[in-house]
């Protein structure tokens, strides 16, 4: 087994099964490191990582930052809320400035689709996408995949159902590319106003508008966070109606398998896409996802940094 074929992580679309396997296998090893008394290894000592977050995110940034620190990298955070972006600096200028500071890896989140690719084209640094617009959020999907493998042994042949605002969800997008590559069968379910328009995307998966049918054979259900802005855009009538039609509730789970895994990328709108008793119930693996997030991000950083070394 050799190094990763990819040089940057923009998304999971087009990433080979072998690469995903390598990341997930390394993540399992890093999960063990996280159980040790000293939860730190010296692999990335001397490397500098910048977390470039143009969109607010506490949890993804914290998870990346912990992963970087546990690999002994030096980290700096750059968030748009208190940065020069507010003063009108362009993306290229921001990047050039960061580059001049000799950064090895850039972890980026931006509302614009394709920003990670743009940065890679204009810089020597290794780029990791931490979410770009409604495009992809690959590390979230990788941690979801690791969680399913941890609980069910494999993704091959498993049924994964994603419920919610599929059209605007980068989590759903990355998950369906990644999970189908690993041999899982993905079913998407949500309001008809929020069906993705991309036909290539939809050709790989099953669309089911009836949530009861969508969860019936599922081994894992991923509930997506409902964004309040969708009400303003008149794509949804109300939170209450959404909950009644697509919310993951106790009654809905009576239609599903006993052992079905309940997942959520967080933060949860309790009582909207997911009821509290389910989020805290025995089927929920939401906190396993959070732990796996650190391990998966360590694996991605470790493998990408290792691949760069012998160019």
């Amino acid at each position: 087994m050799s190094a990763l074929e990819i040089k940057h992580l923009f998304g999971l679309r087009g990433v080979s099964k072998q690469d995903i396997r390598l990341i997930l296998d390394h993540a399992k090893q890093f999960r063990e490191v996280l159980e040790r008394p000293v939860k730190k290894v010296p692999s990335l000592r001397g490397m500098t990582v910048v977390n470039l977050f143009f969109e607010n995110s506490t949890r993804t940034r914290t998870s990346f930052e912990l992963a970087e620190k546990r690999l002994s990298a030096d980290t700096v955070n750059f968030t748009s809320s208190n940065s020069s972006v507010k003063k009108g600096e362009t993306l290229v200028d921001t990047l050039r400035n960061i580059e001049a500071m000799k950064i090895d890896i850039v972890v980026v989140r931006h509302k614009g689709t394709g920003v990670p690719k743009f940065l890679a084209d204009n810089s020597k640094a290794i780029i990791v996408n931490a979410g770009d617009g409604a495009h992809e959020h690959p590390t979230q999907a990788l941690l979801d995949m690791l969680t399913v493998e941890e609980k069910l042994g494999t993704l091959e042949g498993k049924n994964v159902t994603i419920v919610g605002d599929i059209r605007h969800s980068r989590v759903a997008r990355s998950n369906l590319w990644g999970m189908t590559t690993m041999g899982a069968h993905v079913t998407l379910c949500g309001p008809s106003t929020l069906v993705p328009r991309n036909t290539e995307l939809m050709s790989n998966v099953t669309w089911e508008s009836d949530v009861k049918k969508a969860v019936k054979n599922a081994d894992a259900i991923i509930a997506l966070r409902l964004q309040k802005e969708r009400m303003d855009d008149a794509l949804l009538p109300s939170m209450r109606e959404y909950r009644n039609t697509f919310g993951i509730t106790h009654e809905l789970l009576e239609c599903a398998k006993d052992k079905v895994l309940i997942m959520h990328p967080g933060p949860i709108n309790r009582g909207v896409e997911l009821d509290s008793e389910i989020a805290d119930g025995e089927n929920s693996v939401i906190l396993n996802q959070v732990t796996n997030g650190v391990a998966v991000r360590m694996a991605v950083l470790y493998l990408l940094a290792g691949g760069r070394a012998h160019e």
Partner: protein, 170 residues
């Protein structure tokens, strides 16, 4: 190989006449079955089970940035059966070469705690050390050239128990 392991077990028993506080750690990947074989002999000698585990020091290696290939993750895992604090740690590997793996392993062990002693047992010492590291027990010492490779096969990872000296293309 069996004979070499008998010798090693005898030597360790002489150095440390008690099974209490002893922990045998195999270095991934072929040190792991070796450690199990050695530990079996030691527990027969002492008449009680010995804590046995494994150590994968990949993430501690200093040549991470120079390696062309990342190793396979198969048979590479760390399993600490007990705390190493105050213990006699017997570190086991198949081949001792530059000493860099042992250095990485030592750093990894020290992150788990402070053992009272660490001993190093290797099946084959092939020389060419790059760091001041010396084994305590050696099964076989061979003179080798840099373009040669010592290939150790151990069940159940391989189909046989054997040691080969092979020429490799530079």
């Amino acid at each position: 190989m069996e004979f070499a392991l008998d010798e090693m077990a005898a030597k360790i028993a002489k150095m440390h006449p008690s099974a209490d506080n002893m922990i045998v750690l195999g270095m991934a990947s072929r040190g792991i079955p070796l450690a199990q074989k050695l530990s079996k002999r030691l527990s027969e000698k002492f008449g009680k089970p010995i804590e046995t585990g494994s150590l994968d020091a990949t993430f501690y290696r200093d040549d991470f940035h120079y390696r062309k290939k990342l190793g396979s993750t198969e048979m590479r895992f760390t399993e600490m059966p007990a705390s190493v604090e105050g213990k006699v740690v017997i570190l086991v590997d198949d081949v001792l070469y530059t000493g860099r793996s042992v250095r990485a392993a030592l750093q990894a062990i020290l992150d788990f705690g402070r053992p009272s002693v660490v001993r190093l047992c290797v099946l084959v010492d092939r020389g060419h050390r790059e760091l001041p590291i010396a084994p305590d027990c050696v099964g076989l010492t061979v003179e080798t050239a840099q373009n040669q490779e010592v290939r150790v096969n151990i069940e159940p990872i391989d189909n046989e128990n054997s040691v080969y000296l092979v020429e490799v293309e530079a």
